[in-house]
């Protein structure tokens, strides 16, 4: 039986890619499928992400042993030697048991053989069918044979059989016989799969056909995804920010929130969680790109519940974007043809305003469910229902799912394939292979001149191959290498990525030249030829002088240190121990469980208690109570930590460290027994009835204002739980909740609906005007302004409940471990979206409340996710640094430490012993920042030595 793939990951969006990489980095082979013709999911359409408004998707790629990834940009596709990607596939059925699943796949034909397609475009030019291009939000057109994602590499065409008329024009036009339109949908069964991860994501709500939004009649009403495409340089207008109807530059946009969400009439009793941040980001980008400042976001609540969301929102406001608290009724057209909307302003006055463009912030589509095979043993979903999640939440949930898949892969002994890089350091023997790419390069480049010139000037042989990417061409290429005993190779072809994947097992030093660029960037055959000659010369210069990097390896300490025995620490420790890694937990107090005493959900309490029991009885886990980390040194794989425990010190050697020291309730003091915090009330409500008759709940107490300007994320949900419980106990109790934005993200919205249904009254207040509380003998009077009734109100209360938020632990770990923190004192991850549990220091991971406000189950998942990341290191026998790393010429280093501060990967450190600056090979990513800041030229990036680089620059200058 074939047991090639330990795991099948269904869905190649960012969640699926994360899960696949988790497994692949441990050496397991993964079959990644997607029902679409390309990978990337929704993110392939988005160029920019909060909070830095860049892409950053590449940060998902392996950081250790990164040569295995053979790529630098994840948006171009996914290339990893342990991942096989099959597009156009969906799971039909799953049979069998974990470790031996039999999966039948429905495989839709793509119509084009990717091995044969050269991307020459002749098929597209003859295709008579034109349809709207959904990739660009239907704002542009494409043919029935097309490129699914324009920036993908390799750029192979596929056929959209739904619109294809099977006329056969493309078949006869294709120069390489790559097209076959006769194939039908087939069923393929794959046996011996260990487990399945379902990462199929969700569909977006389609507003077409809703009479209120008028998308069919007004062209300048688009979805948020379409607007992202309008702003993209690969979009329908090539990055020119213009509107669809008349091409006018877009300056002023209205964003309409909650389109398809928070709407009982369409069965959408949920918040789609991401649309508010999405709109903020788009408004910020527009303001920056067009220097405009009059856009408006029309919303009910502005749900900026992620850690840095509140401050981001304020930055967007400073750019002049208006936030208007009015859900929009409908979009109409004004007399000049602009989309126009009516809304009510803060004073309750109705206004009508015209915009250049209206953007509908569409959430997830309603009524979606997982396929029934999710119930099978060995099938793990990334989320409980098809869901729309913020990227970092997706990453954490993915790693949570992949940790279960890894357990199965381990249990059923799936083969692991680790890297086996051998570097050839024989004398250089160069050869050049140029791919003529069908007729493309023959017609546009003077190949004869190139061959002659290179052999005359450099004495290096050139072979031209017709189609190096085809099976035939590839075997020709390999036989040339063997025949000539080549050890350094230059390949000129249309796309480089495909070769680097194929060549990664080889000990060849390779340079790849993208020929297509030279043709598209120049205007004549002569010019293109000259340009290619110069790049070949430059590559020759580099390859000749290149000193092959000896791969450094080191043995790693197979133990993990988990700082903190709270919820995230416990789940981390458990995951590590289950994978065979011994763990030392360092806990400040004398018991495990962290914030367990403040949790009121019975199911969660039970699961935490269960976790405590398992961890306590695990012989693989040492627990040090009443202890703290006092100092720390070493490199990833070999950290040495000093733990102080009751006046004694002990040293623990670990390969990795997980920071899970948590946090807790923000400090709050009030002697009055009729004043409580939301947290305390939730515990009280577990045991007894609240006898108060008039209860006022006040959200965001000393929260979301300086100096604690972040949303604590969990208070609104808890306050809603409390309100519902009190109403269950006593339906006549009068509850009023004062709020700024109800942060009822995802399915917490259902609680908000339930609370209102039970008669809880909600009153909004503004940041600048916290409701005034006056104490008197009978309780309190709360004075506030009612924005709906447009009047001052006074509400009497005999119980006052404050939501006071959470705060990170004060433990000085950021100094001891040299980690970065946010202004609010949370330890910062290296990338909020794509690497949420990695700190800037390789080998050290962060999870739970110490990183960001999170509820218990979110913290638990973060813990697993952090353990998962640590396992990549701890599961390896040795760590291999990548070829290109920096090192220091100590003889000329002045020890100014500029490089230590500048290194974005914290890979540089000053040795305690000799005060010299060293580079940690494993952490170094070869980015070169250190070299650029070094005043003395004391930094060298291997593979980029001055001599080779200068030679190649000279050659390039021709």
């Amino acid at each position: 039986m074939d047991r090639k793939f330990s795991t099948l990951v269904a869905g190649a969006g960012i969640s699926g890619v994360r899960a696949a990489l988790d497994l692949a980095e441990l050496g397991y082979r993964v079959l990644l499928i997607d029902k679409k013709a390309s990978a990337g999911g929704i993110l392939s359409q988005l160029d920019y992400q909060f909070p830095n408004d860049h892409c950053g998707m590449c940060r998902t790629l392996p950081m250790i042993d990164r040569n295995n990834g053979a790529q630098f940009c994840l948006r171009k596709g996914i290339f990893h030697k342990n991942i096989t990607f099959m597009p156009g596939c969906e799971i039909e059925t799953v049979k069998g048991t974990p470790g031996n699943l039999s999966i039948s796949l429905k495989r839709s034909p793509l119509g084009v053989d990717p091995e044969k397609c050269t991307g020459c475009l002749s098929c597209e030019s003859v295709c008579p069918v034109t349809v709207k291009e959904d990739f660009n939000g239907n704002l542009s057109q494409r043919k029935a044979i097309y490129l699914p994602v324009p920036h993908n590499i390799p750029n192979k065409r596929v056929i959209d059989f739904e619109s294809c008329t099977k006329c056969g024009e493309c078949v006869s036009e294709c120069p390489t016989n790559a097209i076959d339109i006769t194939k039908d949908v087939g069923i393929e069964t794959i046996d011996g799969i260990g487990s399945v991860i379902l990462a199929t994501g969700t569909e977006l709500y389609n507003p077409d056909g809703v009479d209120l939004y008028n998308t069919s009649k007004i062209k300048d009403v688009v979805t948020a995804t379409a607007f992202e495409r309008i702003m993209s340089s690969s979009g329908p207008y090539k990055g020119k920010i213009q509107r669809p109807s008349d091409g006018k530059e877009i300056k002023k946009v209205a964003f309409i929130q909650c389109v398809g969400s928070r709407n009982l009439m369409i069965g959408a009793d949920y918040c789609s969680s991401v649309c508010c941040m999405f709109a903020l980001k788009e408004a910020a980008l527009l303001a920056e790109k067009t220097k405009s400042s009059d856009s408006a976001i029309f919303c009910m609540d502005l749900r900026t519940f992620s850690r840095d969301g509140e401050r981001y929102k304020e930055r967007v406001k400073e750019k002049g974007v208006r936030f208007i608290r009015s859900r929009i009724h409908s979009v109409e057209k004004d007399d000049s043809g602009n989309p126009s909307i009516s809304y009510v302003d803060a004073d309750g006055k109705q206004k009508s305003e015209s915009f250049d463009l209206v953007v509908l912030s569409t959430g997830k589509s309603q009524n979606l469910t997982h396929p029934s095979f999710i119930e099978n043993e060995g099938v793990f979903g990334i989320s409980e229902t098809p869901d729309f999640k913020e990227i970092s939440d997706s990453m954490i949930n993915s790693s949570f799912a992949s940790s279960k898949a890894i357990q199965i892969a381990k249990e059923y002994d799936y083969e692991t394939k680790k890297s086996s890089t051998q570097i050839n350091d024989d004398d250089p023997k160069l050869h050049i292979i140029l791919c003529s790419c069908g007729n493309l390069f023959k017609e546009n480049v003077d190949l004869t001149k190139i061959t002659e010139d290179i052999s005359r000037i450099y004495g290096i042989g050139i072979t031209t191959i017709d189609q190096a990417c085809s099976l035939e061409g590839w075997s020709e290429l390999k036989s040339i290498i063997d025949e000539k005993g080549v050890n350094r190779l230059i390949i000129g072809a249309c796309n480089p990525q495909i070769f680097s994947t194929k060549l990664s097992d080889n000990s060849l030093l390779t340079e790849i030249i993208t020929l297509a660029e030279h043709i598209s960037d120049t205007e004549s055959v002569d010019e293109a030829t000259k340009s290619i000659l110069s790049e070949i010369a430059s590559s020759i210069g580099r390859l000749k002088k290149y000193t092959p990097q000896k791969v450094r390896s080191m043995n790693i300490s197979k133990r993990a240190l988990v700082l903190g025995g709270g919820i995230s620490g416990l789940s981390s420790a458990k995951t590590l121990s289950d994978s065979g890694v011994p763990v030392t937990i360092v806990e400040k107090s004398d018991k495990l469980g962290g914030n367990l005493p403040f949790i009121s959900d019975e199911t969660v309490i039970k699961s935490i208690k269960n976790l405590i029991e398992k961890v306590s009885s695990d012989s693989n886990i040492d627990i040090l109570f009443n202890s703290e980390l006092s100092s720390h040194k070493g490199v990833p794989g070999k950290f040495e930590s000093v733990i102080s425990k009751e006046n004694t010190e002990l040293i623990v050697q670990t390969g990795s460290i997980i920071v899970a020291t948590g946090g807790g309730k923000a400090s709050f003091d009030d002697e009055n027994e009729r004043v409580k915090t939301t947290f305390d009330l939730s515990i009280e409500l577990m045991e007894k009835k609240v006898d108060a008759k008039n209860i006022v709940m006040m959200q965001c107490k000393d929260s979301r204002v300086e100096p604690f300007n972040y949303c604590s994320r969990i208070c609104c949900g808890k306050a809603l739980d409390n309100a519902i419980k009190i109403k269950e106990q006593n339906p006549d109790a009068k509850i009023t909740m004062f709020y700024r934005d109800i942060m009822a993200y995802g399915d917490i919205e259902k609680k908000y609906t339930e609370a209102r249904r039970r008669g809880v009254i909600f009153k909004r207040f503004e940041k600048e005007k916290y409701p005034e509380v006056i104490s008197n003998d009978n309780g309190f009077t709360i004075k506030a302004f009612d924005f709906i009734l447009n009047e001052d109100i006074e509400i009497k209360a005999d119980l006052l409940v404050y939501s006071t938020g959470v705060a990170p632990q004060v433990d000085n770990l950021e100094k001891t471990l040299k980690l970065k923190t946010t202004v609010d004192g949370f330890i910062k991850e290296v990338d909020f979206k794509f690497r949420p549990v990695d700190t800037g220091k390789e080998g050290i991971f962060i999870c739970g409340l110490r990183r960001n406000p999170a509820n218990a189950s979110e913290a638990e998942k973060e813990g697993v996710s952090a353990a998962q990341r640590a396992l990549r290191l701890l599961n390896s026998e040795i760590l291999i640094s990548s070829g290109q790393v920096a090192h220091v010429r100590h003889s000329i280093c002045s020890r100014c430490n500029a490089c230590v501060t500048a290194c974005p990967y914290t890979a540089r450190f000053v040795s305690v012993e000799d005060r010299k600056v060293y580079v940690d090979d494993i952490s170094c990513q070869g980015c070169g920042t250190c070299a650029s800041v070094c005043p003395n030229n004391a930094t060298i990036i291997e593979g980029f030595e001055e001599k080779g680089i200068l030679d190649s620059i000279e050659a390039a200058l021709g």
């Binding site: 009439m265 009910m300 608290r325 009015s326 929009i328 009724h329 009510v344 109705q350 249904r757 008669g759």
Partner: protein, 232 residues
């Protein structure tokens, strides 16, 4: 007014299919944004729902707010919580003392209950007008055989009337009847209780509305008519 549980607007107002009680309102502003008269004399549908939730019925009953609404229902067409806003407004109107109902609508309801039509037209005048208009139709070429059918059994359509068509705009009746005649449609007009306009709908008077509708049902049963038509 005392907010006893069985008398408040939020308890009385009818719900839509999703059990859309007014409490579900999240004061999102969709209704106010779409309402054609938001801001007119302080009118704001969201404010009305907000007051209803808090049981401030008496203020609403005493104000002119419920009477400003045109009952166009544009608000509830888009309301994400499906709140029956026009139902709320009608319910408030129904709680207003009848002598405080503005304009002539309650007067009309009273006359209708008493005389069978909103303007209190005596039946001999009605008979005369119908016969007269019928004759006018029959004067035209091709319509010579036309006669206005009154209380005819087994007709296909029961034809109620807007009092305006009887009172001042007879020419509209001429058009309608000519269409019926040309289409060879069998219809009949009730000789009494012929009023087709149910002003109880606007004054929030459910009881009267029921009586007026009941009369029409009675006609249809008695005359064995299958369909009802209200030509305006």
């Amino acid at each position: 007014m005392e907010n006893s549980k069985d008398k408040t607007v939020k308890d009385l107002a009818p719900l839509r299919d999703i059990k859309s009680s007014p409490e579900l309102c999240m004061s999102c502003g969709t209704c106010s944004a779409g309402c054609p008269i938001t801001g007119q004399d302080g009118f704001d549908p969201r404010k009305i729902v907000g007051m209803v939730i808090e049981g401030r019925d008496q203020e609403l009953v005493e104000s002119n707010l419920p009477w400003l609404c045109t009952m166009c229902a544009k608000c509830e067409h888009a309301c994400p919580m499906g709140i029956n806003i026009t139902g709320i407004v009608r319910t408030i109107r129904g709680l207003v003392d009848r002598d405080k109902v503005p304009g002539m609508i309650h007067k009309g309801v009273e006359l209708c209950l008493e005389t069978g039509n909103n303007i209190g037209l005596p039946s001999e005048d009605f008979d005369f007008i119908i016969e007269d208009v019928g004759e006018e139709v029959a004067e035209e070429e091709g319509y010579e055989e036309f006669a206005a059918p009154i209380d005819k059994e087994n007709a296909n359509i029961l034809h109620t009337l807007h009092n305006k068509l009887v009172n001042t705009q007879n020419e509209d009746l001429v058009h309608w009847w000519k269409i019926f005649h040309a289409a060879d449609e069998s219809f009949t007009i009730p000789s009494e209780n012929w009023e087709g306009v149910n002003w109880g709908l606007f004054s929030g008077d459910d009881e009267s509305m029921k009586t007026v509708v009941g009369r029409i049902v009675e006609h249809m049963e008695k005359l064995k008519v299958k369909n009802l038509m209200y030509p305006e």
